[in-house]
Subunit: 359 residues, 2 copies
DNA sequence: ATGAAAGCGCTAACAC
DNA sequence: GTGTTAGCGCTTTCAT
C-alpha cells in the first residue's frame, strides 16, 4: 500500500491541514515549510489515494462509457479518441461492457454508478431498446452525453451526421453517372441504419432517381433480406461486418436486375461486398461501384481502395469529453447542447471516378 | 446521488449492523426483518457505493490494464476477452492509456494505483523500455500478470507462444516446397518481433534452409515517405500495420533476388503486402506465398484469403484474469505461474496449398 | 438477534 | 500560518 497523509504528517512533523494546503498549492504556507515538504514528498514518492478523495469530494474524475460492446472493433477509433481526450483533461475512463441486452446494459450502468463515475458517454449500437437505461441516467441527474442522436431523449449530443454523410456519398455516385444504386445495411433498427437510409433516400429523391426496394438490403445474420425480429441471438454482433457485407452483396448480385453501384454500411461491409463481387466475377468498379463509410485503415488497402467517408473521430472524442466535463462542472445552461459534425468524402478507386477520368 | 445505508437505516428503523448482515446474507437476522428489508431495498433500488466499499475493504474489484496503446486495434480481441472474463468474475477494468513512453507509462500506473486497482495485466507492445515500470509494480507487491514473457521479470504470465507459432507457420511453407522464404517484421525490439524471428529461424534451421538477410525486413516508419502527421497523429504507432506491411513487401519485391514466400508480422502486414504484390504485378499465391498471424476477421475476406495462425484470445483472457484474481485472493504459492498457450494454423489460400492440391 | 462505534485516506471548515 | 476536527459511505469488532 502507498503512503498516507497521516504517515507523512507524522514523519515530517507538520499537520494534515498544512500538508493539504501544500498539496493544493495554497499560498497560506510558509515558503520554507512548503519547499521542505515538497522535497520530501518527491523523495517519498507520495501518490494521493484517489478512492478516498473521490469519496470525500463526491467526484472521482472518472467517465463511464456505455453501450453494447462499446469496444467493438467498429468503435475502436472513437474509443481511442475518448480515452485520449479524457486523459488530456485529467479524467480516467471505465467501460460498461455489456452484450447489448437491456438487462446487462442496466447492470453495467449500475456498476458504473456504484463506482461514482462523474458522467456517462453513450457510444452504442443506436438500438431503441437501450433508451430507457439512458433515461434513467438522466433522471438521476448524472451528466450524460451521447455520440448519436437518441430519439425521445433531450440530451447533450456530439455526433457525426450520418444522414447527410450518406446523402453526400450517394450524390457522389449520382454525379458519376450512376442511376441504379443499391444500399447495404445492418438489419437492426439502429439509428445508424435508419439515418444512413434516410440520407440515401434524400439524395436519390433530390436527383429524381428511382429507389428500388430490391436493392435495399437489410442484412440479417442468416443472410436473408428480411428483418428477423425474433432472432433472439444475443451475440449477433460477434458476426463480422465483413461477413454481413459479403452476404448482402451476394444477395443483390443474385437478383435478375442489378444496380451499378452499392452504398455500404461501413468499410467492412464494402470489403465483404468486394469479395462477393470478386467471387461472382463482377468487376469493381467497372461493373459495380462500391462505397464504404468510416475510412478505416483497411479501406486504403482493400483490393480496390475504397471511396468512403472519413469521420472526425478525434473531434468527436474531444468535443464529447469537453462537453461532458463542462456539464459535470456545472458550466453549462440546462438546455442540452447538440453538436453535429460532418464526415468528409474520401475518393479512392472503388467508386470508379478515377476510372472515369482515365477514359 | 444514490441512497446510502444511513438513509435506509433511518427509513426502515433498523441499525446499520442489521442492514449490513442482511446485505451479506448472514443468517443472524430474524427472517421477518430480513424479508421486509429486502423487499424495501428492492423498491428503493439501493445500490451500494463501491468507492466507499473499496476504501474500507482496501479492495476495489477493479483490474488495471496497462501497456502502450492498450486498446490499439491489434489488441482489440485480447482486450475484449479480458473485459468479458473480468466481468464474469465480478471485476471491472480500467485502462492506463499511454503513448508508450516510459514517462506516460509510469504516469498511467500511478493513476491506476491511486485508484486502488487490485491488480495489473500488462498487454503492451513488448518493448524493453517498459520493463522498469512493471518491476515497480511487482516491488510494490501488487499482483501482476503479463500477456507476454518479459525478460528479466519473474512474473505470472499467460501468453501465446509466438516463437513456436512462427516455427509452425514457416514449417507449413517449407512443407509446401518453399525454400526461399522471407520475413516481414516490426522494426521495434519488442518481444513480439524477437520471438517471431526466433521461431522463423528455428524452422529454417531445422530444415537446413538458408536464411537470407536480404529477405528479413524490420520495417521502420521512415521506410517510406508519408507519415500521418495531418491528423495530429504524432506517434509512430498510429501508422497502420497495413502500411508497414505494404512498405516492407515493396522493399522485398524490389530486390534482385526475390523469395517465393513471406512470413508476415500480422494479418494486417500480410494484407498490406498483398496490396504491394498486386500493384507490382506479382501473383499471390502463384508467384509469392504470404502468411499472416492473428486470424482477424479481415484475414478471411482479404483478396486472397489469408493462411494465418489463430490465437486463443478468449483463453488468454480467461486464464490471465483467473490467474490474477487467484493471486489477488492469495490462493497461489509465491512461485510465478507461467502458462504458454498455442496458436493454431488456419490454412486458406494465400500460402498456395490449395493451389498445390489442384495441380 | 441487534446496536454502537471506530476507522479506511482524504478534504474543508473552523479554531488558534 | 498552522493545527484540529468532522465527516464522505461502508465494514467490522465489540457490547448488549
Amino acid at each position: 500500500m502507498s503512503l498516507t497523509q497521516h504517515e507523512i504528517v507524522n514523519q515530517l512533523g507538520i499537520s494534515r491541514g498544512t500538508l493539504h494546503r501544500i498539496l493544493i498549492g495554497s499560498p497560506l504556507v510558509k515558503a520554507a515549510t512548503r519547499d521542505r515538504v515538497l522535497g520530501e514528498l518527491e523523495k517519498l514518492n507520495y501518490v494521493p489515494n484517489a478512492i478516498a478523495r473521490g469519496l470525500k469530494m463526491r467526484r472521482t474524475n472518472t467517465l463511464g462509457i456505455i453501450g453494447p460492446a462499446a469496444i467493438k472493433m467498429a468503435n475502436i477509433d472513437k474509443v481511442n479518441a475518448l480515452h485520449l481526450a479524457s486523459r488530456a483533461r485529467g479524467y480516467s475512463v471505465m467501460f460498461g461492457y455489456s452484450n447489448g441486452s437491456p438487462e446487462e446494459d442496466a447492470q453495467c450502468i449500475r456498476e458504473l454508478r456504484a463506482r461514482m463515475v462523474d458522467g456517462f458517454v453513450a457510444l452504442g449500437r443506436g438500438l431503441p431498446e437501450n433508451i430507457p437505461q439512458y433515461q434513467d441516467i438522466q433522471k438521476a441527474g448524472i451528466p450524460f452525453v451521447s455520440l448519436y442522436p437518441i430519439p425521445g431523449l433531450q440530451a447533450d449530443c456530439v455526433y457525426v451526421d450520418t444522414r447527410s454523410a450518406y446523402a453526400e456519398l450517394t450524390k457522389h455516385l449520382i454525379k458519376l453517372g450512376h442511376t441504379k444504386i443499391g444500399l447495404l445495411l445492418d438489419a437492426s433498427a439502429s439509428q445508424f441504419s435508419v439515418n444512413r437510409e434516410l440520407g440515401f433516400r434524400d439524395a436519390m429523391t433530390a436527383a429524381k432517381l428511382p429507389i428500388v426496394d430490391d436493392w435495399i438490403i437489410h442484412v440479417t445474420p442468416d443472410g436473408a433480406s428480411e428483418i428477423n425480429a425474433e432472432n433472439g441471438e444475443t451475440h449477433i454482433w460477434h458476426i463480422s461486418d465483413y461477413q454481413y457485407g459479403f452476404w448482402g452483396a451476394s444477395l443483390i448480385l443474385a437478383k435478375r436486375q442489378r444496380p451499378t453501384a452499392i452504398v455500404c454500411f461501413s468499410d467492412e461491409f464494402a470489403i465483404g461486398a468486394l469479395r462477393a463481387a470478386d467471387l461472382a466475377g463482377v468487376r469493381v468498379p467497372e461493373d459495380l461501384a462500391l462505397v464504404g463509410y468510416d475510412d478505416k485503415d483497411s479501406a486504403k488497402f482493400a483490393r480496390v481502395p475504397l471511396t468512403t467517408m472519413h469521420q472526425p473521430d478525434n473531434e468527436v472524442g474531444t468535443e464529447a469529453v469537453s462537453l461532458l466535463i463542462d456539464r459535470i462542472d456545472g458550466k453549462l445552461p440546462p438546455k442540452p447542447v447538440v453538436r453535429p459534425l460532418q464526415a468528409k468524402l474520401v475518393v479512392r478507386d472503388s467508386c470508379g471516378s478515377r476510372l472515369a477520368k482515365k477514359r
